[in-house]
Symmetry: C2
Subunit: 148 residues, 2 copies
C-alpha cells in the first residue's frame, strides 16, 4: 500500500511515481517550454494536473467550455484570462470561466508551476481565429502579453 | 470579473475572498486545532479544500467510502493511512483509499496545511468503534500515533 498511498515530492515540481509528460503534441498548438504531470487521475472525480512553464515560456492561448481551477504552486508569472492580465505569485488561485481566452506565462527569470483541476469529460480547446486575435490585440496590454 | 478570476494568497494558508471555516461542529467528532477553507466549490466537478492543523493538532480518525486526494501545501507532519504512519513534507501526495482509517497530525513545532479533493456527493465519515480502536492500537506505532 505504501507506494500508492504516499508519493514524495523529490524536488521543485517533481514527485516519485509521477511521469513527466508532454504538454501537448508538437505542432498541435503554439506553446513553449511547458511540461505536464497527472498527479491524481481521480481527485474527487476530477483530474488533478501540475503544469510547469520554463522561464520565458508560455501555454497555448485557447478557450473551451470546461473550466479550470488553478493554484500557483511554484514560482511566479502572469496569466491572461478574458480581457485582463493578472500577476501571479505562489499559492494564488485562478478561476478560468467557460469559453474564456486564457494563457499562462512564466517570468523570464524563473519557472511557473501551477496545479490545474479539470473534468474528465471535457471539450477540446479552441484556438483563436485571426479575427479573434486581432480583437484581443486591439488592447495594447494584451497585444504585448500574447504569445502565439 | 477581477474578483472571481484571481484570489491572491495573502499569507501562510490564507486567501482573499476565502472564508475560514470550522473543520467540523464542536462535539461532532474528536479533533484539535483544525480549520477548513473551500478554495473552489467546483474544481472539475470536485470540491477543493485546504485544511490547516495547528502545531500539535490532529484531524479526526475516521473512514468513509469516498476517497481523498491530498497534497501537503505548507509545513510538515504525519498521517495514518490504513495500518501505517507516513512522514509528510511540503508537496507530498497522499491517496486515501475507500473505507481506510486515516488521521493527519501536525508536528509539535509547526502547522500542517494540506489540499484535499473530494466528490461533492459523498458518504458521512465513520468513527472507529472501541473494538476497531483496540485493533488499531494493537500495533505500538499506531497506538503512539492515534489521537482521540
Amino acid at each position: 500500500m505504501s507506494d500508492s498511498v504516499l508519493r514524495k515530492a523529490t524536488s521543485f515540481g517533481r514527485w516519485t511515481g509521477v511521469e513527466l509528460l508532454q504538454y501537448k503534441r508538437e505542432g498541435e498548438a503554439p506553446f513553449s517550454g511547458v511540461t505536464r504531470q497527472v498527479l491524481f487521475e481521480d481527485a474527487g472525480g476530477a483530474q488533478w494536473r501540475y503544469f510547469e512553464v520554463a522561464p520565458g515560456g508560455h501555454t497555448t492561448l485557447e478557450r473551451h467550455a470546461h473550466t479550470h481551477a488553478v493554484m500557483v504552486l511554484n514560482g511566479s508569472g502572469h496569466c491572461l484570462v478574458g480581457d485582463r492580465v493578472y500577476s501571479l505569485e505562489e499559492h494564488d488561485l485562478v478561476s478560468v470561466p467557460p469559453l474564456t481566452w486564457h494563457q499562462f506565462r512564466a517570468s523570464d527569470s524563473g519557472a511557473l508551476g501551477f496545479l490545474c483541476l479539470v473534468r474528465h469529460e471535457r471539450d477540446r480547446p479552441q484556438l483563436p481565429s485571426e479575427e479573434e486575435l486581432a480583437r484581443l490585440r486591439a488592447d495594447p496590454l494584451l497585444a504585448a502579453f500574447i504569445r502565439t
